[in-house]
């Protein structure tokens, strides 16, 4: 699993657009008598919110027909009304978005003091992922009117969109300027919801409802919080209120879908989005949510169809475009089913990586299945990306994600080692880590808190191979001794609300120690029992009380004492090299070669390959050492990988493969290989000699 903050950014932006329109209706109704065209478009927008798309489109088109006939002389306010009408019909006509922008610009041209036109233009730009231009628009308004709440909120949204600046603080500024600014309250609520600050989200939503009890988006936040926290009564109330306001509250279910996805409950997320879609078949967020969650659960074709539909309606959606581009890339990948796994990678990566990865993951599956007494259904899909940007898009819809791997459950994705610089990460431990999530997510029906799932995955990494997984670092010990690390009861915040960029990394290791301590003090089955507790709908407090027979606050104290005792007086002589450090292994390889220690040499090279498997020389050395050790299976594997890496001397490499096959006793395969070589290069003396050797190795009376 990994963070997906940017995913919700788009959704927040989209939902906010609705919210702003809602608020604008309220504001204009309260502020002054509505002009006729403004009133007409507001009626149409109200119809759209009710789910009556036909009425909304009819009213909007009537207004637009007038605009096309003689709109050039309209007032700024009427231009804006026309722009709003264009947006109402944009779900069936993508070009209407541009017309809307032109209408807003015409409003500004007609009366530059009518800032609503500029603000709506900026909102539209931001909704269509043009943050820089939107920012310019908001700033222009703020230069004229420094305390404009709407423009201030716009800047907050830009900050959230770009990931730069304190969006929450800026939104609060907007609320201070206008406490009745419902979109600002909603924006704050969504920010809290994304960060899993459920209580704060609820407070902000309630503030929005205090101003406008008909704000469906606010009820959606209330409903989402209730659903996430298992408050079924609260959820039913919120849903009833939303349904009373609109017989088809698609936005309510879209918000629920997003909340479910944040909890990694992708099946529920898909189900909620389908409900939204049933209410509004043209809802781009709903189509996107269904499609995205289908992709996460491995329904690639169905997911693609939904995203394509969403993109056809809104061709400005960057997330959907990125995802479709990614699916095109995936179309060129090779899908390989091996055992309980389905690997998706480029042909080259598949040939180079799968000889190692497939047996590793089979081993991991067996060990994890034994430990957790749970067997996820096969196949488990692992997508391997040789461009980090593609992996990032697969995970969050955008480039720029820092993570190396992601687990959606039975669908995993990760960077290929080639996606990063050599020595950046250990792809074996990463794959093991992500597969461990498959078990913790699956056994808990995706209800395990993130801290626990990450902790278990890091712990499993450490158990997988010597040197894999996180170890105590100087930074960790300092944080521990300074009481910076969060207690177990709040450890999730270390992942979703880190106080500084280092906290997430520290929390991974800290969480792994919690799992280690639970296992050591409560028995080998404790982790699995806890996961089953979450699966059954228990809260974390209940899980600790019923499985570990301890209250969570008491456990906090107990763990704190345990971890401090564990590291009491510990001073690190040197920072651990980590499981991706190449240099120490290369040094060891050299030393083992000099010492003619083939066993040690092979072990060191195996470790090196989990960091950087593309160095032909390493494979050659391992193949030679393995052959000397009599480990012909490894020699054959290495010779095949060398060929997959595209060596300069292809025929020479094939001869070595044939020789390894012969050494492994597979005379038939060796013969086939060498005949293939000599068919191309009949005078290749090295291959000729091998052919003669193969003939000599023929059993008496057998084939020549």
């Amino acid at each position: 699993m990994c963070g997906s903050g940017r995913t919700v950014r788009r959704r927040a932006a989209l939902s906010l657009r609705v919210a702003i329109l809602l608020a604008a209706v309220g504001a204009s109704l309260h502020a002054q008598p509505a002009e006729s065209r403004t009133a007409r478009v507001e009626r149409a927008e109200a119809a759209a919110r009710r789910g009556d798309r036909a009425a909304a489109t009819r009213d909007a088109n009537a207004l637009l027909a007038e605009y096309r006939r003689g709109g050039s002389g309209w007032s700024a306010r009427d231009h804006v009304a026309a722009g709003r009408a264009y947006l109402l019909v944009s779900s069936s006509d993508a070009s209407a978005v541009r017309s809307a922008l032109r209408a807003f610009d015409a409003g500004t041209a007609a009366d530059s003091t009518f800032v609503e036109a500029a603000l709506r233009a900026s909102d539209l730009l931001l909704d269509k992922y043009n943050g820089p231009d939107a920012q310019v628009g908001y700033q222009a308004v703020l230069r004229r009117s420094p305390k404009h709440p709407w423009a201030t909120l716009g800047l907050a949204r830009v900050m959230e969109f770009s990931g730069q600046g304190d969006a929450l603080a800026k939104a609060r500024e907007a609320v201070e300027l206008d406490a009745r600014l419902v979109p600002a309250h909603l924006f704050i609520a969504k920010l809290h919801l994304e960060a899993e600050r459920n209580d704060s989200a609820l407070v902000a939503a309630r503030k929005a409802l205090a101003v406008d009890s008909s704000a469906i988006d606010a009820w959606a936040v209330v409903g989402a919080v209730a659903w996430v926290t298992g408050d079924s009564a609260g959820y039913r109330v919120a849903r009833a209120r939303a349904e009373r306001l609109s017989p088809a509250p698609a936005a309510f279910y879209v918000t629920l879908s997003e909340a479910a996805a944040r909890q990694r409950r992708y099946g529920d997320a898909e189900r909620f989005a389908e409900q939204a879609l049933a209410m509004d078949s043209l809802s781009v967020p709903a189509l996107g949510a269904v499609g995205t969650n289908q992709l996460r659960t491995g329904e690639i074709a169905a997911g693609r169809a939904r995203i394509e539909r969403a993109f056809a309606i809104d061709p400005f959606n960057l997330w959907h475009k990125n995802t479709l581009d990614l699916l095109d890339v995936l179309g060129g990948f090779r899908t390989v089913r091996l055992g309980r796994f389905e690997f998706v990678a480029t042909a080259r990566e598949a040939e180079v990586l799968l000889p190692y990865l497939a047996p590793l993951l089979e081993e991991a599956y067996d060990k994890l299945a034994a430990r957790y007494d749970y067997r996820p259904a096969a196949p488990i899909r692992l997508e391997i990306y040789q461009r980090h940007a593609d992996f990032s898009v697969r995970t969050v819809g955008l480039t720029g994600l820092g993570a190396l791997g992601v687990s959606f459950g039975r669908v995993l994705a990760m960077d290929a080692p080639s996606a990063r610089d050599p020595g950046t990460f250990n792809w074996g431990s990463t794959a093991w880590h992500e597969l461990a999530h498959t078990f913790t997510l699956g056994l808990s029906a995706n209800r395990v808190p993130r801290w626990f799932s990450e902790g278990a995955s890091v712990l499993e990494e450490r158990r997988a191979r010597r040197g894999w997984g996180a170890e105590a670092t100087g930074a960790y010990l300092s944080a521990l001794r300074a009481n910076f690390l969060r207690p177990v009861s709040q450890l999730n915040d270390g992942f979703v609300r880190p106080r500084n960029p280092m906290e997430v990394g520290l929390s991974y290791y800290h969480a792994s120690l919690v799992c280690e301590m639970i296992e050591s003090q409560f028995g080998a089955g404790a982790l699995a029992a806890m996961l089953r507790g979450w699966r059954d709908g228990w809260t974390t407090e209940q899980v600790f009380a019923r499985v570990l027979k301890t209250a969570l606050p008491a456990f906090d104290t107990r763990f704190d004492a345990w971890v401090k005792a564990k590291f009491d007086g510990v001073q690190l002589a040197a920072e651990p090299a980590g499981d991706a450090a190449i240099a120490p292994i290369r040094d060891e390889v050299l030393a083992r070669e000099v010492a003619k220690d083939d066993r040690g040499l092979a072990d060191a090279l195996e470790r090196l390959l989990w960091i950087w498997p593309y160095d032909v020389a390493s494979h050659v050395t391992l193949a030679e050492a393995s052959a000397r050790l009599g480990d012909h299976a490894t020699a054959v594997r290495e010779r095949r990988v060398i060929l997959a890496l595209g060596p300069t001397d292809v025929l020479g490499a094939r001869v070595e493969l044939a020789r390894a096959l012969l050494g492994a006793g597979d005379r038939a395969a060796a013969r086939r290989e060498v005949l293939g070589i000599l068919e191309q290069a009949p005078t290749f003396e090295k291959a000729q000699l091998l052919l003669l050797d193969i003939r000599k190795a023929a059993p008496p009376g057998g084939a020549p």
């Binding site: 300069t648 068919e679 003396e685 000729q688 052919l691 003939r695 020549p704």
Partner: protein
């Protein structure tokens, strides 16, 4: 008895001596490095090529001319300072030694610049241009000329020098690829291991050495995750696939000659079989393929045993 045996051995060496129609001549020019690292590298490549010309191309000492930036760096003290006049003299001298059908290999290593016929590689003093080389090479109409412009910005050497019986290799496809070129390093390395001989027939064609250098150069950039800033070109790939740097060695030993002829006949049978591959049942094809390949392998072993070179 012992003396007779020695005489017989000597006779065998003499009769099995190299009989080859094609003679190879080499002009190696290593230009100004500009910086010590480049000067050293160019000099090392020049010296290596001289050795390659003598040993692998079997060029006579007098047919190998190395013109260098700094003659003091030549341990044999035989290099000539690479001035424009000296280069012109070298070609004049060589033109008096070549015979019809010979191969003249010219390798120009250094930093390039300029465009069209004015393309040049920096040498001490006035730089000769591609146009100058064209004039000097006009005296080699009856020879096959292999001109290797292993320098940055060398693309226009191809357009200026290409012609009948001439193969021009350039490290860059245009004169605008001006970054440091790695081509020369890999061109030289192609002669230093067996990897460039992709069909493993023991004879390196110009195309094989070009392909090797191109491929290995690209790998350097790929490994360093850098954009490839040099794209080598060859003027005539058909001719380049036929021309070898050194002709096959023929033996004077009648036993070896007979074995070679027998092997040649088997190779022709193999070629004929391969052409019929699609029309034969796979098992029948494979059986016949194996029979012929084993027979060829046995002939090779017999040639070796007879003291010949397969």
């Amino acid at each position: 008895m012992m003396r007779r045996g020695l005489a017989a051995l000597l006779l065998s060496v003499v009769t099995a001596s190299v009989l080859s129609a094609q003679r190879t001549h080499a002009v190696i020019i290593t230009g100004l490095g500009g910086e010590p690292q480049y000067s050293t590298a160019f000099a090392a490549q020049g010296a290596a090529l001289r050795t390659i010309a003598r040993t692998q191309w079997r060029a006579a000492d007098s047919s190998v001319i190395w013109l260098a930036e700094d003659t003091a760096k030549d341990p044999e003290q035989r290099a000539i300072r690479a001035t424009k006049d000296a280069v012109a003299q070298a070609f004049l001298r060589l033109s008096q030694r070549v015979g019809p059908g010979d191969v003249v290999v010219v390798v120009l290593i250094g930093h390039g610049s300029g465009e069209g016929a004015g393309s040049r590689v920096n040498l001490p003093g006035v730089d000769p241009t591609a146009g100058d080389f064209a004039a000097w090479l006009s005296g080699f109409a009856r020879q096959t000329v292999v001109f290797v412009a292993a320098a940055s910005a060398s693309g226009d050497f191809v357009t200026t020098l290409k012609g009948p019986n001439r193969i021009v290799l350039a490290a860059t496809r245009t004169p605008f690829e001006r970054n440091e070129s790695r081509f020369s390093e890999h061109f030289v390395r192609g002669f230093q291991n067996a990897e460039a001989d992709t069909d493993k027939d023991g004879r390196l064609t110009v195309l094989e050495s070009f392909a090797y250098a191109t491929r290995e150069t690209a790998k350097v950039y790929e490994t360093a995750r850098q954009m490839l800033t040099e794209h080598a070109v060859v003027s005539d790939s058909v001719l380049a696939a036929r021309v070898v740097y050194a002709a096959a060695v023929s033996s004077g030993d009648p036993r070896v000659v007979a074995l070679v002829a027998e092997r040649k006949a088997l190779e022709e049978q193999l070629e004929a079989l391969r052409k019929r591959k699609e029309t034969l049942p796979p098992a029948e094809y494979e059986a016949e393929l194996e029979r012929l390949l084993l027979a060829i392998a046995e002939k090779t072993a017999a040639i070796r045993a007879a003291g010949g070179t397969p």
